[in-house]
């Protein structure tokens, strides 16, 4: 097939880390678009610039998102990239697969696309890179028959994702996989039909280790925690001492609130329950001996996003503790109220965090009906610029 030289890309087939160039080359062996991609990319490497035009409007019937239109600005030279759209498939909770399901995806993508994928996209989707406008609908139809559906794009709910949670992790404080699946299915309309000021992302992490980086990467971050006291197994503590773990140095001294007291004589570790902030550190170091408490649930945080344009925001606490039960009705109800408020108040291309920053947390809490609690802030305001409500002043 290809005779084109790609000296620069060839350099990236060297070295110990598996090479994406090799992957493109594999696809190129079977697919002309993938082959053109090699050429286009080599050209970008020479010119130090991209060769893709601003996205266009492509999609699947009944859906408002899930496909990213993409066209090269050099269609004459790379005709097979004239259209090179991405399809975002909603991954299963926790990115678990049977080989059978993965093979099905490969087969359909071999038929309709370039054979290139990202496993996974940064938001969590199965990213299928490169197809034509014409092929989108038939590809979707087959994926759909095989049990897959589109993910989000545009101003909608983006594909939620979750950590491995109870499927394989001893720390999980709620069922992240079930929650992710349930919420995704509940809000199919919001996911597939963009109607908001901008995108909205949800990520589920089973504990404060936050293995989905949800606090930085999602508008709504749902982080597992517990309300009672962490549980310590003193026999296991003694076993760690035996193994030579420096409990005072590696655990107690690094506890952010100094809530752990180690008794050298008895080889006993105790926690001052009210001081513990459930940061997970001690549990991480001594998983055999320390476990979360029993009254489990999640902290809900809001407003995370990356840098463009008002600066990056990390999500902040809006509900310190919520039980993750009863089909997540409490969470769903809260999400609906938040979206309604945001839809009402947000400017175009304004993330929820930016809207709240602009209008003030007080207004948001009052209008969404959330009780203010000190857990929402690191510290209270430094300025005295309080807004008083009509019913709070003397007429």
């Amino acid at each position: 097939m290809s005779e084109k030289k790609t000296p620069q890309l060839d350099e990236l087939e060297k070295g110990q880390w598996p090479s994406f160039v090799t992957e493109i080359r594999k696809a190129a062996a079977k697919n002309p678009a993938a082959e053109d991609l090699l050429g286009l990319l080599e050209r970008s490497y020479e010119e130090k610039k991209g060769h893709w035009k601003h996205g266009g409007i492509v999609g699947v019937k009944g859906y408002g998102g899930g496909v990213i239109g993409r066209y090269t600005d050099l269609p004459e030279e790379y005709p097979n990239l004239a259209e090179f759209h991405t399809i975002r498939l909603n991954q299963p909770s926790g990115w678990f697969y049977t080989t059978k399901s993965l093979r099905t995806i490969c087969d359909i993508w071999e038929k309709y696309g370039s054979g290139l994928t990202n496993l996974h996209g940064s938001t969590g989707d199965i990213i299928l890179l490169g197809t034509t406008t014409e092929n989108i609908q038939p590809a979707f139809d087959e994926f759909s028959d095989a049990g897959f559906d589109l993910g989000g794009s545009g101003s909608d709910l983006r594909t939620p994702s979750c950590c491995v949670g109870p499927a394989r992790c001893e720390h999980a404080c709620y069922d992240t996989l079930d929650a992710c699946h349930n919420i995704t299915n509940e809000f199919q309309d919001e996911l597939h039909r963009p109607m908001w000021p901008y995108k909205f992302k949800i990520k589920f992490s089973g504990c404060a280790n936050d293995c989905t980086a949800s606090i930085a990467r999602s508008d709504c971050s749902i982080i597992g925690t517990w309300r009672d006291t962490l549980r310590i197994d003193q026999d296991a503590v003694k076993a760690y001492v035996q193994e030579g773990l420096d409990i005072q140095g590696a655990v107690c001294d690094k506890c952010p609130t100094r809530a752990l007291k180690f008794d050298y004589k008895k080889n006993e570790l105790n926690v001052i329950a009210e001081e513990c902030t459930r940061c997970m550190h001690c549990i991480n170091v001594m998983p055999k001996a320390i476990r979360p408490g029993q009254e489990k649930g999640a902290t809900i945080l809001l407003g995370g996003k990356s840098t463009i344009v008002q600066s990056a925001f990390m999500a902040w606490v809006i509900v310190p503790f919520m039980k993750m039960e009863d089909d997540y009705e409490e969470l769903k109800d809260l999400l609906r109220r938040i979206w309604e408020w945001w839809d009402e108040n947000g400017k175009t291309r304004e993330r929820i965090g930016e809207t709240i920053y602009r209008l003030g947390m007080g207004k948001f809490l009052r209008e969404v009906g959330l009780p203010p609690v000190p857990q929402m802030v690191f510290r209270p305001r430094a300025n005295p610029y309080v807004f008083w409500q009509q019913d709070e002043i003397n007429k």
Partner: protein, 352 residues
């Protein structure tokens, strides 16, 4: 007629029997060797997860290869991690080493667990996006080649999470990573009046500029940019293809460090800029790989056991970080945007 809004496949269909049986009943884990997690359930059941590096941008051939391995060593079950690694879910302890050998034979590295460098979360770059200031996959490949030993070994003071974003939209957690490489522009957009006239709403375009650098130009029915005010964020280009910001001579990569998202010990924190610009030197970006390796090495040899990169820098102080690394401090390191105030040193206590 395709189904509409059926949602993703149910995860339970994707779980191996050992997980279905011990779902929510895991008791603890250990890391018997780099790249292998051993999870033990309440009933004593043992699951071995073998973590393998992936370039993320993979062909269906690659996926099929991995499926073949999963069929052979783990009854057809595997998963991917939130950092795009592959995890083979092995319920038979005896199959762990053979699987690892098979992976290594294919040139797939095993590692990324515990106190190691994991895979680099990254983005599209020149492969598929319209706004990149650099490529993503290429830099990632070059850096991972260079830092390979830190992936396969657990010799770092703590976990090291590296991210790469090809423009300031920062798709990924670059803003909260131990080390982030971010594609940056350094020159204002060149206004292509014709393209702007076609299909761009001028008021939205004007409003999109965070610094108010864009003014409408009623004469041309387009806009003009006050170059003094422009900070090259590229948001206007996202709004209109007529705001041509890509500039091969001046685009490149900035390095930010010290962010984290876990709540363990210290609160999640933003990454901070330490190198405002390195040139785009494809195919292997030597300036970038060297800078990253240098930071990793200074960190590895100075931090205390268990200290994330940012925790180490905050303990010793940023002024000390610049001394230890020899990285030059410039006016570009000093914030001059909305939340700059909180970064200024409002204290007379600092190190010389």
């Amino acid at each position: 007629m395709p189904r509409i809004d059926a949602g993703p496949p149910h995860y339970k269909e994707m779980l191996p029997p050992i997980i279905l049986e011990n779902y929510g009943k895991w008791r603890y884990h250990v890391i018997p060797r780099p790249g292998v997690l051993k999870h033990v359930a309440e009933n004593g059941a043992e699951l071995y997860s073998v973590r393998a590096g992936s370039p993320r941008l993979v062909s269906i051939d690659f996926i099929r290869d991995m499926c073949a391995l999963a069929d052979e060593y783990c009854d057809g079950f595997l998963r991917f991690t939130s950092r795009n690694n592959i995890e083979f879910l092995v319920s038979d302890a005896g199959k762990v080493e053979p699987l690892i050998s098979a992976l290594e034979a294919k040139g797939i590295p095993v590692g990324g667990t515990g106190n190691s460098l994991s895979n680099i979360v990254h983005t599209q770059g020149w492969v598929h996006c319209h706004t990149p200031a650099t490529d993503a996959s290429g830099i990632v490949k070059a850096v991972m080649d260079d830092l390979h030993e830190y992936f396969t070994d657990m010799k770092l003071p703590a976990k090291l999470k590296v991210a790469m974003a090809c423009c300031l939209n920062m798709c990924g957690a670059a803003h909260c990573s131990d080390i982030a490489m971010v594609g940056v522009h350094r020159t204002p957009p060149r206004v292509n009046d014709e393209k702007v006239q076609k299909g761009t709403e001028i008021p939205s375009l004007v409003a999109s500029c965070p610094t108010g650098a864009i003014r409408p130009n009623p004469k041309t029915k387009s806009v003009v940019v006050n170059e003094e005010k422009c900070m090259y964020c590229g948001n206007c280009y996202t709004m209109s293809p007529g705001m041509e910001i890509a500039d091969p001579k001046n685009d490149g990569v900035a390095i930010l460090i010290g962010g984290k998202t876990s709540n363990a010990r210290t609160a999640p924190s933003f990454s901070r800029m330490v190198i405002p610009f390195l040139p785009n030197n494809p195919p292997r970006w030597p300036e970038v790989t060297e800078a990253v390796r240098h930071i990793v090495e200074v960190y590895a040899s100075n931090a205390r056991q268990g200290e994330r990169l940012g925790e180490w820098v905050e303990r010793i102080g940023w002024e000390k970080f610049f001394i230890l690394t020899g990285i030059e401090f410039t006016d570009k390191h000093i914030d001059d945007y909305i939340f700059s105030r909180e970064t200024f040193r409002t204290s007379a206590a600092f190190k010389f």
